[in-house]
Amino acid sequence: MRRVYLDRIAATPLHPQVLEAMLPYLKENFGNPQSLHSVGQEALNAVEEARENVAHLINCEPSEILFTSSGSESNNFALKGLALAHQKRGTHIILSAVEHQSVLHSAKSLEKLGFKVSHVPVDKWGMVDPEEVERAFSDETILVSVMLANNEVGTIEPIGEIARICRARDVLFHTDAVAAVGNIPVDVKELGVDALSLAGSQFYGPQGSAALFVKKGVRILPFIDGGIQESGRRAGTENVSGIVGLGKAVEIAKKEMEKRNEKVKPLRDKLAKLLPQKVEHVFLTGHPEKRLPHHASFCIEFVEGEAMLLNLDMQGISVSSGSACTSRALKASHVLLAMGIDHALAQGSLVFSLIEETTSEDIDYFLEVFPPIIERLRKMSPLYTQYLEEKGK
C-alpha cells in the first residue's frame, strides 16, 4: 500500500545525517558531560557545539540556550519559571486563547498558586490582535505568552508587535515557537522576545530534544533542582545524543529551510486549492496567507475527525485531527472554538502538515482517496441528512 505521511506537526522523520551524528553518542562516546575526565569532556564539547548551532539559528548567545526534553517542557519551564521568579512584581499573566495545552495548563497550575490569567481572544483566522493584548494589561501583569505559529491552524501571530508592547511596559514576553523554529526564519533579537520554546522533532531532529531560549539577564527559576547542568536551571544528566541530533538538525535547517519551503509550499497550495473543489462543504481554517508554508488545515462539515482519520489511515495516509496531544479527548478543539467555529463543524477538523519528502503524487493520491470516504461518512451522518432535508424544503 502507498504510504503518505502528512503529519509533520506530530513528528518528522529523522534526517539521515542527524542519525549519523547521533550514533557515536549512543555507542562509544557515552560520557557524562559533567565528568572531568576526557570521556566526559568529549561529550561536553559535543553538547556545547550543539548549543552554538541552536544559538546561531535563532540569533542569540549560546549561554541563552537551555536544553530540555520537549516543547511542552520548554513551555512549562518558561511559564512557571518566569512567573514564580517575578511574582513579587505582580501575579497577572496574559495568554492567547489558542495556546498549546502545555502553556494553557501551566497557567492553570499557576492559577492554583494565586496567579490570575487572562486569555486574549483571536479573530476568525486565529490571529491575535496586539491591541487586545494591550487592553488586557493591568498593573499586576508580569508575563505575556503568545505562540509564534499555531500548530492546529498554522496561523503566524504578530509576535514582534506584541513583544514591543510588552517591552514598553517592562513586562516579560515568552513565545511558544515550537511549530515555527527550523521551519521558518526566527530571530529572537528581531522579534524582541525574552523567552522562546523550540523542539527538534518539528524539523527532522530526534524526539526528546528541545530547548528554551532565555534572554541574558532575565531571571527564571530552575525547572529541575539538583545539579549544575544548564547553568543550574535544569538539573539532570544531559540527553547527549538527543542534543547532538538537535544541533545537527538545526545546522541542516539553517542551510535547507528556504529550499524545503520552496518545495513544500506549492504542494500545500495545491492541496488547499483542490480539496474544497473536490469535496463540498470544506473550509480552510487559519489565515489564508500568514501561515506556516507546510501547513493546511480544514473543517469538513457533517463528519467527525477521528472517523476520517481512521479511514485515511486504512488507505496508508497519516494526517491529524487537531493536535496529537489532544487527539484522544472528545471535545472539539479549543483553537477552533476560539476562532468562532461552531462545535459541529469543529469536530470535523483535519490538519495536514507536509514533509520534505511529500510529492505532488502524494497529494493526488489523497485527493483521489478522500471524496469516497467523505461520501460514505456523510451517508451515515444524521447532521448531513438533516441538512439535506432542510435544503429540500
Binding site: V303, E304, E306, L310, A329, L330, H343, S381, P382, L383
Partner: protein, 191 residues
C-alpha cells in the same frame, strides 16, 4: 491501534446504516457539543424489531457501537432489545478504550429511546410528532450527579451547583476534586 479488531471491522463495514422512512419508532441522542450524535429508527411487527437502521456523527467507536447495537437488536422482542446495555455492547465489541465507553452508553440509549418512542406512539397517536421533535431538541449533556442539563462546557452544574471539571482521560464533566471519573473510571481525573 487503540481499537479491537471487532471495533475496526464494524467501523469499516457498519451494518444497517440509514433511516427507515416510515419508522415505527425513532430515538436520537447526543449532540455535537458532547462529540457524538446518534439516531436509530425501528420497524416493529408482532412486538419484534423487524428492521433497524442508524445514523451516527462521531468517532470510530461511536460508529462501531451503533452498528453493533443495530445487529444485536435486529429480530429481538422489544423486551429483549431493552436489555441491551452499554456493557453488553462493549463486551460484544471486544472492549472499548475507557475514554470511549460513553459511546456505548449513547448506542444503547438511542435504541431504547426508539423503543420508548414506539410505545408512546402506540399509546397516543396524536402526540407522536411533537414527542419526537421534543425529545430530539432537548438532548443535551447531563450532569453525572443530578442528571441536570449541561451545555457541556460550564464550570458548575446549574441544578445541583456542583463544581465541575474536565476528566483528563475522556473529557467528560466530573466533580471538581473527584478521585475517580464516573464516565470512564479513570482514577487520575486531574491533568
Amino acid at each position: 491501534m487503540i481499537y479491537s479488531d471487532k471495533v475496526m471491522e464494524h467501523f469499516q463495514n457498519p451494518r444497517n446504516v440509514g433511516v427507515i422512512e416510515d419508522a415505527d419508532g425513532v430515538g436520537k441522542v447526543g449532540n455535537p457539543v458532547c462529540g457524538d450524535m446518534m439516531s436509530f429508527s425501528i420497524k416493529v411487527k408482532d412486538n419484534r424489531i423487524e428492521d433497524v437502521k442508524f445514523q451516527t456523527f462521531g468517532c470510530g467507536a461511536a460508529i462501531a457501537v451503533s452498528s453493533m447495537v443495530s445487529e444485536m437488536a435486529m429480530g429481538k422482542t422489544l423486551e429483549d432489545a431493552l436489555k441491551i446495555t452499554n456493557k453488553s455492547v462493549a463486551e460484544e465489541l471486544g472492549g472499548l478504550p475507557k475514554n470511549k465507553l460513553h459511546c456505548s452508553n449513547l448506542g444503547a440509549d438511542a435504541l431504547h429511546k426508539a423503543i420508548e418512542n414506539y410505545k408512546e406512539k402506540q399509546k397516543a397517536e396524536v402526540e407522536k410528532k411533537e414527542a419526537i421533535v421534543k425529545s430530539a431538541d432537548k438532548e443535551k449533556c447531563y450532569c453525572p450527579y443530578c442528571e441536570g442539563p449541561l451545555e457541556g462546557l460550564e464550570d458548575s452544574c446549574k441544578q445541583c451547583e456542583i463544581e465541575l471539571e474536565e476528566c483528563s482521560e475522556c473529557g467528560e464533566s466530573v466533580k471538581k476534586g473527584e478521585e475517580k471519573c464516573l464516565h470512564c473510571g479513570a482514577t487520575k481525573v486531574r491533568v
